[in-house]
């Protein structure tokens, strides 16, 4: 059947070809000459037989030619169909001759290239999928309706959900309430422009806590090039945010500190000025008192006049101490105590102090003893050391009983330090208040402050001075038996200063 069809095709083709090349078989019949008709039939038979022979040869050749062309082409067509269906596993053997063979070779090359490209695509897709799923960044894929089509584990877990729970929900479920508008705006803008990069959006977790993120969007397109969704790469910037907040806070604190320092400087200048202005008029007040008190210098006073002068002098002294204490407390507070260090003989200083106070102690009937021994030398601020001792003596005098009072001062060398002490046999310091003795404005008994008439800054100042000079201050006290204050100034300071 098939061969018959091919012969028919070949016969048709022969006719067509013969027609095309200009051969026409013409038979002329002459009705008026029937005898010649027989001759004609006789003569035409070999020609006709030859024609049939030629025709058969031509048909065979054509059939062979058609078969050798259509078969490879058909194979190629079948392969093309397989490829179109996505199956690249086709085998092509270049057969035939000429163009058909060349075509098959080209086709094979194309299939190989396609296969390689397909492999690359598969690898890339796998890599992408792997990256998407295992990335520490939060990934989510959103449709144009704002529904989450896909998300990675990092995204779901950071928000406190499973991937399955997240898929199909609206992105706003995970947006912090304060950023809902910003998120919607950004989404709408992206739909128009297709661009969204590094947008700071706060996300909300399942338990309601929020955290800052930076979002960057990449787009998904359909075959026509229209955007059909977006893939959001979300960076959790909580740590960066905290660091930034800390930096901002630090900067603010630094600014505030600068302001405070400026204010402190102004305050210090003000206190310095006030101190200076208050102390200046005290000089003539106290000086004149002194002159009036000195027998014979400006003429003798009667006892009532002398008592008045004494009262003025005593109160002027108190005022001087109060002003001085306020100034020192201010300096201590801002850590700007100035020291003027020099080499001096401790033994000599203690003798001077002992001499200066003997008169007052005698008046107050207090036994006053200096138990310094040996030749002690220090390199430190002599005036400040004297100030500390004055303060401690003043305290001791105030807290020592009227009768049988005893105050002992002294200094000794102990482990590379000079330890100064002021001991009294006064009321002592109650145990419960001992830990806060060096706190500002503290006095053992508030009612005592009126009697003591101090600022409550004395010990604070002593501590500030001693520590400022590199030493330490402490006390031992037994209620009812007395108190001993000690302070130690390191001797090594002397050597360091000698070297420099």
């Amino acid at each position: 059947m098939r061969i018959g069809l091919q012969i028919a095709i070949a016969a048709s083709m022969f006719t067509v070809i013969m027609t095309a090349i200009g051969y026409v078989l013409l038979v002329q019949l002459n009705k008026a000459d029937p005898i010649k008709m027989e001759e004609l039939t006789k003569n035409i038979t070999p020609i006709f037989s030859f024609g049939i022979f030629i025709f058969i040869v031509m048909a065979g050749t054509m059939t062979f030619l058609i078969h050798s062309i259509t078969n490879p082409v058909k194979k190629l067509r079948d392969a093309a169909d397989k490829i179109a269906r996505g199956d690249l596993d086709v085998k092509i053997y270049p057969k035939g001759t000429g163009e058909v063979r060349d075509l098959a070779i080209s086709f094979k090359t194309m299939v190989n290239t396609l296969r390689k490209s397909g492999d690359l695509q598969t690898t890339a897709a796998e890599k992408y999928k792997n990256l998407y799923e295992t990335s520490p960044f939060l990934y989510r894929t959103i449709t144009l309706d704002g529904l989450i089509a896909e998300c990675n584990k990092s995204y779901a877990e950071r928000l406190g959900y499973t991937v399955e729970e997240v898929i199909g929900t609206h992105y706003n479920k995970y947006t912090a309430p304060k950023d809902l508008k910003a998120m919607t705006d950004s989404f709408e803008r992206w739909k128009l422009t297709g661009i969204a990069k590094d947008i700071e959006i706060w996300l909300k977790t399942r338990d309601g806590t929020t955290f800052p993120t930076l979002m960057t969007i990449s787009n998904f397109y359909d075959e026509d090039g229209s955007v059909i969704g977006r893939n959001s790469i979300i960076r959790d910037i909580s740590e960066i945010y905290e660091a930034r907040k800390k930096l901002e806070k630090d900067a603010l604190m630094e600014l505030q500190l600068t302001e405070i320092k400026k204010m402190e400087k102004l305050k210090d200048e003000f206190v310095s000025m006030m101190t200076h202005e208050l102390k200046t008029p005290l000089t003539p007040i106290m000086g004149h008192c002194e002159m009036l008190k000195e027998s014979g210098l400006l003429g003798d006073l009667n006892q009532v006049q002398l008592d008045s002068i004494n009262t003025i002098h005593e109160n002027a002294h108190r005022l001087e101490r109060l002003i001085g204490d306020a100034m020192l407390a201010q300096r201590l507070e801002i850590g700007q105590m100035n020291f003027d260090k020099q080499k001096f003989e401790v033994t000599k200083l203690m003798s001077e102090i002992h001499n200066d106070y003997s008169k007052i102690m005698k008046e107050k009937q207090i036994e006053f003893v200096n138990s310094t021994h040996g030749n002690l030398i220090l390199w430190t601020d002599k005036n400040r050391i004297r100030q500390v001792i004055d303060n401690l003596i003043q305290n001791a005098v105030d807290f020592t009983p009227k009768n049988d009072g005893r105050i002992e001062i002294g200094a000794r060398n102990e482990d590379g330090k000079i330890v100064f002490y002021v001991k009294d046999n006064g009321m002592g310091i109650p145990k419960e208040v001992q830990p806060i003795m060096f706190k500002k404005f503290y006095q053992v008994d508030a009612s005592h402050r009126r009697k003591h008439k101090g600022t409550g800054l004395g010990l604070v100042i002593c501590k500030g001075i001693v520590e400022g000079l590199g030493g330490g201050i402490w006390f031992e006290s037994e209620p009812g038996k007395g108190t001993s204050f000690y302070f130690a100034i390191p001797e090594e300071v002397l050597w360091q200063n000698k070297l420099t």
Binding site: L282, T283, P284, G287, G324
Partner: protein, 121 residues
């Protein structure tokens, strides 16, 4: 002893003048730092009592000017100041200041200081 007192406060110069004279010393006073410098350069004093915080020409200006003339080492200068202790350092003007006393100063201590300073020549 011939003493120069330089202090802008009149009450203080009066007090010290009265005190030193009562103690049998010669005392010249001025309330101006500049005048004090002129007096100091043109006369020989055994001791100078100098205030620091004075208007226009301060105690520091006085010491600097004296330093420039090269005559500072010949002087026995006692600084008397109401500024907090430690704000004024002996070393600030090299050999210029012999002693710093704080105001209000005990007159007995002042006298003792001047006596011991002038005794060492």
């Amino acid at each position: 002893m011939k003493i120069l007192v330089v202090d802008d406060n009149n009450s203080i110069t009066q007090l010290l003048s009265q005190f030193f004279k009562a103690k049998g010393h010669d005392c010249v006073t001025t309330n101006s730092g500049k005048k004090g410098l002129t007096l100091c350069l043109n006369n020989k004093f055994d001791a100078i009592i100098l205030d620091l915080a004075m208007p226009d020409f301060t105690g520091a200006d006085f010491l600097d000017s004296l330093n420039q003339t090269g005559k500072i080492e010949n002087q026995k200068i006692v600084v008397m100041t109401a500024l907090p202790l430690g704000d004024v350092k002996l070393g600030d003007h090299h050999h210029g200041i012999c002693e710093v006393l704080s105001k209000p100063c005990n007159l007995g201590v002042l006298m003792k200081t001047l006596t011991s300073l002038t005794a060492v020549t």
